[in-house]
Assembly symmetry: C2
Homo-oligomer: 384 residues x 2
């Protein structure tokens, strides 16, 4: 093979990966999937004439099990849902026993190491899906920044949302520190949590105060999300925690110091909130405890602080007994979440101490669907 021939072949290959993929997928036109119908049902389509059995699984189904798609004469498998409420929905296909993404839907999000298709829909203004969608309103800025953490001896990456108008304003803004869960990173609240869309929409509607939202990376082992860290690591649930004496919580002052010296922030406890999901909820508790008088609003989303034994209750008391009372402990948990009992214990503990507490129970479990909702609710409670 002559050199030019190889070069031409390589070029054709590299250009053609998507084209040839379409060919491999089907010799006919691609199918539209998902299609949101006028009655708010949603139709999913998948072309594969060779497949024997195709299932769909998704969080819009009322069935826990995947359901069968039906094959048409044209080799296109189809499933149409019940009418759905406004939401962000996740789904994928199971093709002859193997999970795969919908090749017709380029909207995908990564949760730890798994990519899943999603779509948003809203049936009216102000339904849940509406807050996760983009509207023709003023938009804030999202920045990916690196900060120095002397406590950990390294630089680390964070996502920072600043609201529309921040750059041209001379005003100072309150700050919400928003923490992810095990296996997550500084991209999680942005990509899975739709933080930018939720805040843009709440602020435009006058339902939340313009605020800065800081989303640091809460994983000790990695200083950045995959693709932005030095190694091409594979994230897992279990590589989030430190086995050393240094915990991510011990370095939180580095996060605050960076934010307060790099952004026009309003200081004082009344202008700082901290919230997190699951592991991040536990971190929110302990950081507020180790920074007494720093935060006035503490959000615990699907809080995973264990309170099953007297020792654990004592540990909770140690985390939750500041010398000062914040203006709000906000607790959100799903009725089917395994940590619901913990959340109730924390609520009861706050009540027994006379701390200001709000408890919100939603449907469902330990899911991003709930964490998006909790952020939407919590953001309306703070800095007011």
């Amino acid at each position: 093979m002559k050199y030019n021939h190889i070069a031409a072949a390589l070029a054709a290959l590299a250009i053609g990966i998507s084209a040839s993929a379409q060919q491999a997928l089907s010799s006919r036109a691609p199918v539209a999937s998902p299609e949101i119908n006028s009655d708010n049902t949603v139709t999913f389509r998948y072309r594969n004439a060779k497949a024997v059995k195709v299932l769909i699984q998704g969080d819009f189904l009322t069935s826990m099990s995947p359901v069968e798609m039906k094959e048409g004469q044209d080799g296109v498998w189809t499933y149409t849902s019940q009418p759905l409420e406004g939401e962000l929905y996740l789904y994928d296909f199971i093709v002859d026993g193997e999970r795969r993404n919908d090749p017709s839907n380029m909207y995908m999000s990564r949760d730890i190491a798994t990519w899943t298709n999603f779509f948003t829909m809203s049936t009216r203004k102000d339904d849940k899906g509406w807050y996760y969608e983009v509207h023709d309103i003023p938009h804030g800025t999202l920045a990916k920044r690196w900060y120095d953490s002397p406590a950990l001896g390294t630089v680390r990456r964070m996502s920072v949302y600043s609201p529309a108008g921040y750059e041209k304003s001379k005003g100072k803004y309150p700050v919400l520190y928003l923490l992810h869960g095990s296996g997550g990173d500084e991209d999680a609240w942005v990509d899975l949590g739709r933080t930018v869309q939720i805040l843009d929409n709440l602020i435009a509607e006058g339902k939340a105060k313009p605020m800065i939202v800081v989303m640091p990376n809460g994983v000790y082992y990695n200083n950045a999300a995959p693709g932005y860290a030095v190694n091409m690591f594979q994230p897992t649930m279990s590589n989030s925690r430190s086995d050393s004496t240094k915990e991510i919580e011990d370095s939180f002052q580095d996060v605050i110091s960076f934010v307060e010296s790099n952004y026009r922030v309003a200081t004082g406890r009344q202008n700082r909130a901290i919230a997190g999901l699951s592991m991040g909820s536990r971190q929110s508790c302990s950081i507020s405890r180790s920074h007494p008088g720093t935060f006035s609003y503490i959000g615990m989303f699907s809080g995973a602080v264990p309170v099953n034994t007297p020792e654990e209750e004592a540990a909770l008391a140690k985390q939750m007994d500041p010398k000062w009372a914040p203006k709000l402990y906000w607790i959100g948990v799903g009725s089917a979440d395994g940590v619901k009992a913990h959340a109730i214990k924390i609520k009861e503990y706050c009540e027994s101490k006379g701390y200001p507490v709000e408890y919100y129970e939603s449907e469902g479990g330990h899911t991003w669907r709930n964490w998006r909702l909790y952020l939407t609710l919590f953001a309306q409670k703070i800095f007011k």
Copy 2:
């Protein structure tokens, strides 16, 4: 089914999408893929005991056609490459005729509407792959910002890279405006082009001047990338161009005005460069022409300005005949690129006019592999 039962089921489903997916995929431990071996060969693995034929295609193969993977006793299909040079490589599998991504590799990038697995490797400092990887050096900031475009009557989104130290400096920085191709958006140069990594590395090595890189959205129909625009549109190659009288080039002053009033930029033509790939190359030409004396460095990566007829040559002359000479026209093209003849014509035109021109021909074709390389080279030529 009682309510609680449904809620519990939904919760289990939503939590379990990735867990059940792993189950569906295999009852055994996941396989590692890709694995970069000590001799710089790379091993790909894919577990699927039911598959009859599994191929791999990728831009590291010396063959244009996909090659067969070999099934082991354990149902794991394997392919090991030749020793590879440092690069960012793309690949996917074809399983019984259907293209699919590697379920073991969460590193994926989206090119228009197609997701493809990738990995980076470097065999020594300073090889190509090294520039696309993240190293333990100072990192710049990446911001996603919205700007007002009075010319188009809308707000639009852009990506802005600012180099390490920008925020704490009082200095002014030169600006590279970097344009994507058909079907792309403001995320393309960041995600596919590895712009942040390339600039961080070049600047840390002292090979490029610290500069701001502005990556606007050059698609008329959409004002932001998928997921950040009002509609959940499906990007295509063909929806990039305007069919109205307003072209994205006509609104470019809005981009410059926003950048120069929101960043500490050094003004004057010697501090402005503009470059783009394919469609963006054509836009770079015409924007430099319609903003005479604005840019001193013009980069044309796989330039697609047609020059096959006398009329097209006259049109080129009209684009390329400014009243002033820039310091550099830099032309990069692949030896197997279909637009190579155009690039040579442009080079010859510059030479005939006595314009300063550099022509760089690489292997391969109209691919991101080349555009990353051209950015790496062009960024070292400007602002010096």
